[in-house]
């Protein structure tokens, strides 16, 4: 028996057939073309599943269920995607619509929760019961695993870690709050901080690296400049890791998970980012005083986390 996992993104729909050990037997993807009516997108999803089943000679009778990870705010109880900015979805009954094609159990969850579940089942946090994953990308996503299961709260909409306030009355976020974690510690925030630092310090190597074209600055630029000995870059990274540590300390003080797993684009910086972060959190977090400490480590599951985690939604039921 196998599971089907679907990673529904703003750019592409990725799907795979996954076994109980988390191994992807076959996978494929199609473009989302998010500006279409949802019924067309879900039809493409069903067609993609059909192709996977055909290509692998697996029948739907061997499929225990379908799990879907989506951006935005899905309601996992009703299977409705309440809201997604990326997909322009508003109260879309994904489960009901996909059931028209495949009458198997269908589960829907937020993509950050799905990635956390993949890490918890097979990745960095597989040996512990309680873990939190944060993904540092354009924004900051978060998934909370309690007793080996996704914690969704009232609305299966909990763990919006990117929107915790770490700077009271700080920078305005698109969500309407001020001082959100992701305005200070996401990859986008680091890029803004790098541009600002480069402008203020015309002799910084950062300017040279991008030929004074700030649109070329990405999240790696400042790490490369630091590697080459640039003082401005070093200061930008120190400040950035300070912000990041405030959010991580809050997760430790509130949830005290065994592990915190760092994923997303910035997670790829690995120990460059995580070693100094670990030091600050260990020295500072209230809950670490004289006790066991939360372990901070990079994500392991890579690009397939979305498919595998979504498939595990079925296993988790």
């Amino acid at each position: 028996m196998v599971y089907i996992g679907i990673d529904l993104g703003g750019m592409s729909i990725k799907a795979g057939i996954v076994d109980k050990q988390g191994k992807i037997l076959i996978k494929d993807k199609v473009p989302t073309k998010a500006d279409r009516h949802y019924s067309e997108i879900i039809l493409d999803m069903a067609t993609l599943i059909k192709k996977l089943l055909n290509d692998s000679h697996i029948t739907i009778d061997d499929v225990l269920g379908i799990g879907i990870g989506s951006p935005g705010t899905p309601d996992s109880k009703s299977g409705v995607l309440v809201f997604s900015n990326n997909l322009h979805f508003y109260n879309v009954p994904i489960r009901e619509e996909l059931k028209r094609y495949y009458d198997v159990p269908i589960y829907l969850e937020n993509d950050a929760n799905v990635a956390a579940l993949a890490e918890s089942e097979f990745g960095a946090s597989k040996n512990v019961e309680n873990s939190v994953m944060i993904t540092l990308g354009t924004g900051i996503g978060g998934g909370i695993i309690i007793n080996n299961r996704i914690y969704g709260g009232f609305n299966s909409a909990a763990s919006e870690l990117g929107h915790m306030i770490i700077v009271h009355d700080g920078i305005l976020c698109s969500c309407g709050q001020k001082g959100c974690f992701e305005k200070y510690a996401s990859a986008s925030a680091l890029i803004s901080q790098t541009i600002e630092g480069a402008k203020k310090n015309p002799t910084s190597l950062i300017n040279e690296i991008v030929n004074h074209d700030y649109s070329k600055i990405n999240a790696k630029t400042v790490f490369n400049a630091k590697e080459a000995g640039d003082e401005t870059a070093k200061n930008i990274i120190t400040t950035f890791i300070g912000y990041l540590s405030s959010g991580i300390i809050n997760i430790v003080d509130i949830l005290f998970p065994e592990y915190i797993v760092i994923g997303g684009g910035l997670g790829n910086e690995g120990e460059n980012l995580i070693a100094p972060l670990r030091k600050i959190v260990s020295e500072t977090a209230y809950s670490s005083h004289g006790l066991r400490e939360t372990t901070i480590l990079p994500a392991k599951m890579g690009n397939d986390a979305g498919i595998i985690g979504a498939a595990m939604l079925v296993k988790q039921q």
Copy 2:
């Protein structure tokens, strides 16, 4: 069959015999005299239990277990109070020591968690599965209830809500972190903010109310001054509720509990405090956009929460 609940505080040891419906059948207290060796304090605890049993004609055979709520950082798994500033306890094996007198199941938990459990079992949050209680006193305590049980995290030391950082690089806290929630939104913080406001505004009514003796300012002073129409008091409260809302918004965005229950001394301000707080959180919190909302309401259990919640530690097993 009944439970025994013990509310171990820096000033007094309160104990009660509690039935399954959360009714206290008998209760009593003795002074803690916290500067003694722990074995003497625990002997007093045992003697107090003996007195309750004698006075109520209940035998130890009718007692299903003893629950203890303590300040500081207890390790609920081992029954050891790892650290308590108030009691000057460091790695005290409370369970083992009390077992010498009463060989029944004994459970130990942080007092804020115990209060949250009391509210969840019989108080403000009794109808929901997931709730968070915060107590606004000298500091800010927190208890997280998930699926009707205390969530303790890695170390049964989670839910240190008072030490979440809401002002990155803000006021130094005694815990070593900067910008902790309790430095801005506890009763003590409100008193500091009231003194500062009164000093800056010599014509404010606050000065008159306390006869210019700032040591007389307590958490109620500014509410009284506002009631009488004082503009400075109004501004102080608005700023204070702003800070409070940042911490509450973080709890909503991270945990999205059905209910948040506000207790502690400041909780007694009731709707004066909670109505404007509710408005800000409802309008601002990311997770409330277009969805069900977390309900914020005052605690109900009053002074007996410690005894009743501690007794419920036994029921919860």
